[in-house]
């Protein structure tokens, strides 16, 4: 440890003000703070400092994603081998999955962090950990067969337009990971939906039933998976989204550490259930007939509501606002899913839409609060 610290200290003067490599200080600082906890102390004024800084928050979210990620890698192998009619062991599934999945992570981090570093150096601001979570989220919400260069283009778009154009981490209106997915979805539609993209290397065989459950339903066909399969995640889908169980473990971790908002999650579940119940009552086609509680198990609902909707930057900030925000995401997500068979991933759209409205929701909550307190003050003055 001492050795690493010393190495950093030796080279630090180069990057300080007036040093030779002053321009690259943001890059140096990023590595420094990645390895060591920064030893900043409060210098003036009275401020509360908390051990939970941005870095700690981001790392916690990454830990929460690990179960879903590991399961996702196993499921890549499982889907591949079972759809191609081959046998395989647990380890074989996992190895195959990681061979397929890790390059996606590498591309996502490589492109995304590359752009962040470039912007940090050009603009002279410090690089922070904001991208660490997005960079892992993006491969988790993409189909495994997406060509890597398409992933790279989507990541570049998300970081440039979704984030840096607004001023970097903490300033973005939309969730960058969802921007990447939406970009890929509209740009390269044949690679983002259909029955082949969810199973790795499926394009080499002709007959395959790799359709997602929502895709099957939209085509008015019967679902061949049991409810337990849906819950445990033995189904085709984007890498991280299939296993509700693993996502719930992550959710429990996020809620226990207080990083994610339970109001958004609960609001989302209520909204989605309500919309599902309404559609069940109407029951006009297969998608509407699909039991409301199973809607919560398939597609991206669980992953989106736990990891995407709870993004503290792009979501609502006020407590009441979080309820409304979460509720509407659930409601709209199921609505888009059922009404528009071409967009089975309703939650991507729903969250992006609500991201845009989150500041409006907050504004009215805050205004309402001010009005109420003014009224109370006036009443008190009158009675006094």
């Amino acid at each position: 440890m001492k050795f690493i610290r010393n190495t950093f200290d030796t080279y630090k003067p180069l990057f300080d003000k007036g040093g030779k490599l002053e321009k690259f200080a943001p890059g140096f600082n990023a590595f420094d703070t990645l390895v060591f906890v920064p030893n900043h102390t409060t210098k003036q004024g009275a401020h509360i400092r908390d051990g939970v800084d941005l870095k700690r928050v981001m790392v916690t979210v990454i830990f929460a994603m690990v179960p879903a990620m590991i399961f996702g890698m196993w499921n890549i192998g499982y889907q591949h081998f079972s759809q191609l009619g081959e046998a395989g062991t647990f380890i074989e599934f996992l190895i195959y999955g990681s061979i397929k999945f890790l390059p996606m992570v590498a591309v996502s981090y490589g492109v995304g962090l590359g752009i962040e570093f470039a912007f940090g150096i050009f603009r002279g601001h410090d690089i922070n950990e904001g991208y660490l979570v997005s960079g892992l989220l993006i491969p988790l919400i993409m189909p495994i067969d997406l060509p890597l260069w398409m992933l790279g283009v989507s990541v570049a778009f998300a970081v440039l337009i979704g984030k840096e154009a607004f001023g970097g981490t903490g300033m973005n209106i939309l969730n960058p990971a969802l921007v990447a997915r939406a970009f890929a979805f509209f740009s390269y539609a044949p690679y983002m939906s259909g029955d082949k993209v969810w199973v790795a290397d499926a394009s080499t065989v002709d007959a395959i039933s790799g359709e997602t459950i929502l895709g099957t339903l939209a085509a008015n066909n019967d679902v061949s998976y049991s409810v337990l399969d849906m819950f445990l995640g033995y189904i085709p889908g984007s890498v991280g989204e299939t296993s509700v169980l693993m996502i719930l473990i992550g959710a429990a971790f996020l809620l226990f550490t207080g990083i994610a908002s339970w109001r958004i999650m609960l609001g989302g579940v209520i909204g989605a259930s309500l919309m599902g119940l309404i559609f069940n009552a109407l029951a006009l086609n297969e998608l509407m007939n699909f039991p409301w509680w199973q809607h919560l198990l398939v597609g991206s609902f669980a992953f989106a509501i736990v990891f995407m909707a709870t993004d503290p930057v792009s979501g609502a900030q006020t407590d009441k606002g979080k309820w409304i925000y979460g509720f509407l995401i659930g409601l709209l997500g199921i609505m888009i899913r059922v009404f528009n068979g071409a967009y089975p991933e309703g939650f991507m759209m729903a969250i992006l839409l609500m991201n845009v409205f989150a500041p409006t929701i907050d504004h009215y909550i805050v205004e309402g609060n001010i009005k109420r307190r003014k009224k109370r003050l006036n009443n008190n003055l009158e009675t006094a």
Binding site: P147, I161, A165, F186, S187, Y188, A189
Partner: protein
């Protein structure tokens, strides 16, 4: 009159031409005429034709209004201006229908909508009504060119990235049904970006142009 003595291309007059190209671009700085910039920029050819049409209408209406500016009662000036612009647009529409029927069909209603193009009315109100015909002509050329420049730029990127063509030529290679039959970039697995064909991406392209322009031209940054 004093302005008659001024040289044809005095510094002031040259600024009339060059300002709208960068510092005072009608699309990227004044953010006018966005609707047509989104609607007809999927391909380069219609964008070019549209640019020429708008250029013609701006120049002609600017000069005509400037010539009769002292005769127009200010109360009915909008009606007079509209009449002039509308006649010019009908003229353009008929010429397009006669000589470039395909493009005219592609542009469809947007040729007629030049009437409502804020840039045309804006220049008449802001410039032609108060300046002589030569200056108004230069102003029309400048603003028309500024509009055309951005339009063609957007259309260039949208057609190149969205359908892999420029002016209808497949410059990135031919995309066949299978990878083996494709040529050029497509043989390496390249795919067209379908998002580029949708209007939201045109708006984002305008945004990127504004971003690049502002980071190059510090004058434009307001606090």
């Amino acid at each position: 009159m004093a302005e008659e003595k001024e040289a044809l291309f005095s510094k002031q007059n040259r600024a009339l031409l060059s300002d709208p190209l960068n510092d005072n671009n009608p699309i990227s700085v004044q953010v006018l005429g966005i609707c047509s910039a989104l609607a007809i920029t999927v391909q380069l050819k219609p964008a070019l034709v549209m640019s020429i049409a708008v250029l013609f209408v701006i120049i002609a209406s600017n000069v005509i209004v400037s010539l009769i500016r002292n005769l127009i009662p200010s109360r009915i000036r909008i009606i007079v201006q509209l009449l002039i612009v509308a006649s010019l647009v009908i003229l353009v529409d008929q010429v397009l229908k006669a000589y470039a029927y395909d493009v005219s069909k592609e542009l469809s209603v947007f040729v007629g909508l030049i009437i409502t193009n804020c840039i045309v009315m804006g220049r008449l109100e802001a410039f032609a009504l108060a300046n002589g015909p030569w200056k108004s002509f230069l102003d029309g050329v400048g603003n028309g060119a500024g509009y055309a420049f951005i339009l063609v730029l957007i259309a260039f990127f949208r057609e190149l990235l969205g359908s892999g063509k420029l002016m209808g030529f497949e410059i990135l290679g031919h995309k066949a049904k299978t990878l083996a039959e494709s040529t050029g970039l497509y043989a390496m697995g390249y795919e067209n970006n379908g998002f580029m064909l949708l209007s939201p991406m045109a708006l984002i392209t305008v945004g990127i142009i504004i971003w690049v322009q502002r980071s190059k031209n510090r004058k434009l940054i307001e606090n």
